[in-house]
């Protein structure tokens, strides 16, 4: 594997192929480019979705019956789990870059396990909340809490499936470049969800 290949993992210029057309041809960069655009468009739709919910939270809390609820401290721990999973994903990507197949799979596996742990943790938090007498319809803050955690969880479940797919799909790193692209796409989504959760946590905490 020539070193130059390893370095040039970033797609060259997007959108414009020099003469004004798109970067053309059936080459590798072109295919990667398409996937990145697709991913970011999807993420912008998700951003808009949560922006809509944010505005709903802001409008809704103006009404008189908004009573803040308090989250079990376990939620903070759970948040840490998700953040750590982002780091483990980074480690796994690093292993992939240095062609350590084994380490790559190991850390990817850890990420998947942490993802599941986070989801389990969220369900545990729901149970704790129910134990405190907060159900979905109890008050608007609780409603938003359940709604937003559930939607985030669904997106994360999608992310986990993607990781599982990646795990088995690149079991043997036959094609280094495309494996790396897949890993980078997946990790972008994964980090996005981590940031999204931190944002939601702050949103639910502050209001």
């Amino acid at each position: 594997m020539p070193a130059s290949v390893l370095k040039s993992t970033k797609p060259p210029i997007p959108i414009d192929g020099g003469d004004g057309s798109s970067p053309r041809g059936d080459d590798f960069y072109y295919k990667e480019h398409v996937k990145w655009i697709g991913l970011w468009l999807f993420l912008s739709a998700v951003i808009m979705l949560f922006a809509a919910f944010t505005s709903a939270v802001i409008i809704r809390r103006e009404s008189g019956d908004w009573k803040p609820i308090y989250f079990p401290s376990f939620l903070l721990l759970n948040t840490m789990i998700l953040i750590i999973s982002s780091f483990t994903f980074e480690i796994s990507k690093r292993k992939l870059r240095s062609l350590q197949e084994h380490g790559y799979h190991f850390w990817l596996g850890i990420t998947v396990v942490l993802g599941f742990a986070f989801l389990g943790g969220q369900i545990y938090v729901w149970k704790l909340m129910e134990g405190q007498g907060y159900f979905l319809p109890t008050n608007p803050h609780a409603s938003f809490f359940y709604l937003l955690t559930c939607l985030h969880g669904l997106h994360l479940l999608g992310g986990i499936l993607w990781l599982v797919f990646l795990f088995f799909g690149t079991w043997q790193i036959k094609n280094f470049k495309s494996s790396l692209t897949s890993a980078r796409l997946a990790s972008t989504y994964w980090h996005f969800l981590t940031f999204l959760w931190i944002y939601l946590y702050c949103l639910l905490r502050i209001v």
Binding site: G17, V34, S44, L147
Partner: protein, 592 residues
């Protein structure tokens, strides 16, 4: 090390199922979308006929209807709940499942890869999925007529809560509204998948030499529409999720305290009905442009082709498409001037709405200037495109009244609004679809649509369209409200207007009947029409360099190289009056 292996798809035409049913080919998907959308349009138009029947002859008994639908028309008289279900489903099917699907799913799929010189969409599998999800959504919507206790959703296509949230408020909110929510969820998912595909495809799959500023305006419009859809639909997603929770899980997102419905005090607390309206119109207004923009694009291309003249002011046209697309996100409040939102917000939306009128006016003037000094050929697509301009102007000018908040006090929720949006959104887009179908039909099926039938369809449609919807403005100015099951039984002030309603309804029936001519022409020409040459209209776009009907693989590996913009009609010094985009500069004088 290996480079990704290109899958050899050329020369391999799949079997029947993969070719026609579960196809990932953008052309097949486009046609599937188009035909499905036409089917839902016919159903929705049938509903409009029943609506008009009821308004013109309120609570009249029609024995045939009584025997056909004894449940909905006991004794031949329509029940008020049925009327509500009809206008709700009419609006929903027309706006989402017909116009959006036909324009974006149908023509978007069919045309974008052809016009930019790509082999297919960026994500063909996603594309196929998009169609099947759309079809599922449509079936869910329609099935509410048969399987939903209480009938289909009945709170209007805008579904304002609490009416749409409380089962006891209206029969259609029992189960029908849940069907509606699920159907819309499918539709939104399908549209998002399509939109992702379109934007990615246009950004990254243009052929050599195809600068963004050489794209046909059709592609520009479809591209913008897709982007607007991706960003606007999530608001409706959020809204329907919350509505669903309010309906089934006792939350109070939209339900305020102290609701007293059907003799019962409800336990809900603190929700905001206006929140729904904001979220709905955050999508709802861009949605209007989602269906307008593609039709504007078709009109531009068709006008230019049949004027044998470049579109006037191409950069201004592109600019106004982008301006309309982005401004459409900050005007939603003009649907809420009298809703009780803060009146200072009304001022803001008043101004932004007037601003968005500027790019719309620019487009109109450019279309008119395109006609100027042309040698016009009045073929069927051209007639529809010209009628589009007329409807757009009528709708646009009535829109200025609605944009002015004080005038909207009088006009909101009256027939003036119905008239306005049937011109600017429904009518203009409908005529855009007719123009485009007639225009690109040879590419789809390799045959021409019949001109005589096409023109017959056009004259009847154009005349009756005006006769149906223009008088509605007068009803609205007088104050007659929309969504009235019986305008005269209780209100004496509308009695004198009833002859106008009868006139409107008679025209509406003629309008509806004329569409059967189109349907007949469509299928008849598909099978029997005159065989089309590769470029029957002598047009410049890339799609016209391919054979009619199109080969299964667009370019079969030899993607074209684009040399010029698509509007070189009557180019000075060229031998012919058109210069396809692939003709190089030097060859212009010689071969063309």
């Amino acid at each position: 090390m290996t480079v990704d292996k290109q899958v050899e798809r050329h020369h391999k035409i799949p079997g029947f199922w993969q070719h026609y049913i579960f196809s990932t080919n953008h052309k097949v998907i486009g046609i599937q979308y188009l035909i499905t959308a036409f089917a839902s349009a016919l159903i929705a138009a049938g509903m409009a006929m029943l609506i008009r029947l009821e308004i013109a002859w309120p609570e009249h008994s029609w024995p045939i209807l009584g025997t056909l639908f004894p449940g909905a028309f006991p004794g031949g008289v329509m029940r008020p709940e049925v009327y509500a279900a009809l206008f709700t489903m009419h609006g929903t099917l027309m706006v989402f499942f017909f116009l959006s699907a036909a324009l974006v799913g149908g023509f978007g799929n069919f045309l974008i890869p052809l016009q930019i010189g790509a082999d297919d969409m960026a994500f063909p599998f996603l594309n196929m999925l998009s169609y099947w999800v759309y079809l599922t959504g449509l079936l869910v919507m329609l099935s509410s007529f048969f399987f939903s206790p209480g009938g289909p959703a009945s709170a209007g296509w805008t579904s304002y809560p609490p009416l749409s949230a409380l089962k006891t408020a209206i029969a259609g909110s029992d189960w029908g509204q849940s069907f509606w929510i699920v159907g819309m969820a499918f539709f939104i998912i399908s549209f998002t998948m399509g939109g992702l595909n379109f934007v990615t495809t246009v950004l990254s799959m243009r052929t050599r030499g195809m600068h963004m500023m050489r794209l046909p305006l059709t592609t520009w419009a479809l591209f913008t529409t897709a982007a607007v859809g991706i960003l606007a639909f999530p608001a409706l997603t959020a809204a329907v999720v919350m509505l669903f929770l309010d309906r089934h899980f006792g939350t109070s997102f939209f339900l305020p305290s102290g609701l007293y419905v059907a003799g019962k005090l409800l336990p809900n607390k603190g929700g905001s009905p206006l929140l729904w309206q904001h979220l709905f119109w955050f999508l709802g207004h861009p949605e209007v442009y989602i269906v307008m923009l593609p039709a504007m694009g078709f009109t531009s291309d068709i006008l230019s082709t049949f004027c044998r003249k470049p579109i006037f002011g191409y950069p201004a046209m592109v600019g106004s498409i982008l301006a309309i697309g982005s401004l459409s996100f900050i005007v939603w409040g003009h649907h809420m001037f009298v809703s009780g939102m803060n009146p200072y917000l009304g001022l803001f939306f008043d101004i932004t709405t007037l601003i968005i009128a500027v790019p719309s006016a620019i487009k109109t003037f450019n279309w008119m200037a395109t006609l100027w000094e042309a040698k016009i050929q009045l073929r069927t697509p051209m007639l529809f495109a010209l009628a589009f301009v007329s409807l757009f102007v009528t709708g646009g000018l009535s829109g200025i009244f609605l944009a002015m908040a004080p005038a909207d006090i009088q006009l909101h929720d009256t027939y003036f609004v119905i008239s306005h949006f049937h011109f600017i959104m429904a009518g203009a887009s409908l005529f855009g679809i007719f123009a485009a179908t007639n225009f690109w039909f040879p590419k789809m099926f390799g045959r021409m649509m019949n001109e005589t039938l096409g023109k017959f369809h056009f004259w009847i449609t154009f005349i009756t369209y005006y006769c149906t919807f223009f008088p509605m403005m007068f009803l609205g100015l007088h104050g007659e409200m929309r969504r009235l099951y019986d305008p005269v039984q209780y209100y004496t002030m509308f009695k004198s207007l009833q002859p106008i309603n009868v006139f409107i309804s008679i025209n509406a029936f003629a309008l509806g009947a004329a569409q059967l001519v189109f349907v007949f022409n469509f299928f008849w020409s598909m099978l029997r029409g005159e065989k089309a040459s590769a470029n029957p209209w002598n047009a410049n776009g890339l799609e016209w360099t391919l054979s009619s009907p199109l080969p299964y693989e667009n370019w079969e590996g030899n993607s074209p190289e684009v040399q010029r913009w698509p509007y070189d009609y009557s180019y000075p010094g060229a031998a012919k009056d058109y210069l396809p985009q692939v003709v190089p500069e030097q060859a212009a004088a010689g071969n063309y």
